[in-house]
């Protein structure tokens, strides 16, 4: 079982979600994050006091997939989240030891 974490742009979420659903991925979890990398933030000024806001709002998408679906999922996210502009985001992949479905107690692949 693999865990894919993708940091993407807000307005790409809907598209990526739909694309993933189409290739048969049935579940995902998102959260609000702020981040920066190459793309740095902007300046905001409040009554003359200037702040550099480094962190830009992004969406973090977490998808657990069977090892076999991994590449397909990565490709789908990559192609749909891409604009070609700096700030498109990153994908991180890691390995899970175990997945459990709380409702049934099922473990492993069936639990996803």
């Amino acid at each position: 079982m693999k865990k894919i974490e993708a940091i993407i742009r807000h307005y790409k979420l809907e598209e990526v979600k739909n694309a993933l659903t189409e290739i048969g991925i049935q579940g995902m979890t998102v959260s609000e994050v702020r981040g920066f990398g190459r793309q740095r933030g902007h300046k905001e000024t409040y009554r003359g006091a200037e702040y550099t806001v480094d962190f830009l709002p992004k969406v973090k998408l977490e998808v657990i997939v069977d090892d076999g679906d991994l590449q397909k999922a990565i490709d789908t996210i990559t192609s749909h989240a891409r604009t070609g502009q700096i700030g498109d985001g990153k994908i991180f992949v890691s390995t899970l030891d175990e997945v459990i479905r709380i409702r049934t107690g099922e473990q492993g692949g069936g639990a996803v």
């Binding site: 905001e44 000024t45 409040y46 009554r47 003359g48 006091a49 702040y51 806001v53």
Partner: protein
Amino acid sequence: MKTQVIACWIVTSMLLLVISGVSFSQEPAAVPPVEAPMVGPVAQSAAPAAAAIPEINSGDTAWMLVSSALVLMMTAPGLALFYGGLVRKKNILGVMMQCIILMGLMSTLWVIVGYSLTFDSSIAGGFVGGFNKVMLNGVRVSPGGLTEIHRLTIPDLLFMVYQMMFFVITPGLICGAFAERMKFSAMVLFCSLWGLLIYCPVAHWVWAGDGMFNHANAAAKFGALDFAGGTVVHLISGISALLCAIMLGKRLGFGQEPMPPHNLTYTFIGATMLWVGWFGFNAGSAGAANAAAVSAFVATHMAAATGTLTWAGIEWFKRGKPSILGACSGCVAGLVCVTPAAGYVTPSSGMILGVVAGIVCYFACTTIKSKFGYDDSLDAFGVHGVGGLAGALLTGVFSSAEIAGEGKGGVIEGNSQQLINQVVAAGTSLVLAVVGTFIILKVVDALVGLRASQEDEIQGLDLSQHGEEGYIISY
């Protein structure tokens, strides 16, 4: 904590007892005489000459009831939202609590002794009003109990409650300077003392019939024009705010971490509520629904309008983007600046005052503040102190006899003495405010301590002072 609380209440109570004691012992003589002429913000431009006791005029009464409600609305939700949006999330309730407690506290103090200190005839060589009106002694539910110059066609009690609302909001303005770091008990004590020891005397000088700076007081050497409180409300609260900012010191992390407003939508709602409420503040200061009220209404609105455009315009040219905080700050600056002049000037002068306010307050809040490095958290000094001073002086320039009444023209109409009077009145008030605030802060510091502890400040005043959180939007 508890001991401080108790200390705090003991001091206040003692203070009140002493004061009341004085007054009650005087009471036998306290049948309120129809004193010598005096003039307040109300009716400066429309004081009836005759001594005949007027009847209640329902239209004037209706307008003053509404105005009283509007001025209360300025404190909350108005000011509470304007200021509350500017602090960090963890201090939003702290700001709101200050406002609502002031609504309770200052109202109570005003009834007990504040009104008397302000509008009773002078004692202590004219320094402050006497104690004859303590506990609203002799304040009537019909017109006529006030001095001749204040003789209005509304019940005296209505005049009292309208003035009360000014007593409530003025210390509220100061809170912008020490936001996010003052201990709640210190705030309570400070505002009580400041109100009684600084606001009441200054308001007495400028608005009481025998006040030494009251333009309508024939005996006054330096009769100043202050229609709705440029000096009484904004200048002295603004300068006291500066002192608070300096004496309390900077917020932890000031200059190192960003402290952006946590909710500019609140600041906007608050600013526009202030705009609306200010009609009660300024046009209500006519004391009647008359021509002076209409003049004040229009001048007030136009100053807010041009103040908004000016501040936002400066930003647009200087940094390419006009900001909503700029627009809101500009409208408040314009409103502050036109306050002393409202009922005395033409709409065009109102527009000029707004432009001037936009410019000077902009520079006060940006250049000056960053140059001197004090931490006036929400620019109480930059907007109210500087705008109030500009307004107080410019009233002496732009006042028009045609609108304000005979003998009230300003420099533009050749009466340069008026500007001198404005300077003297503003200057004297400023001195009292600085000295008084300094002493009061020292006293409060000794009694309960001024600043919240480091941990409390880091945790935020909402949790540390009130044990609550503002938004729990996650569940």
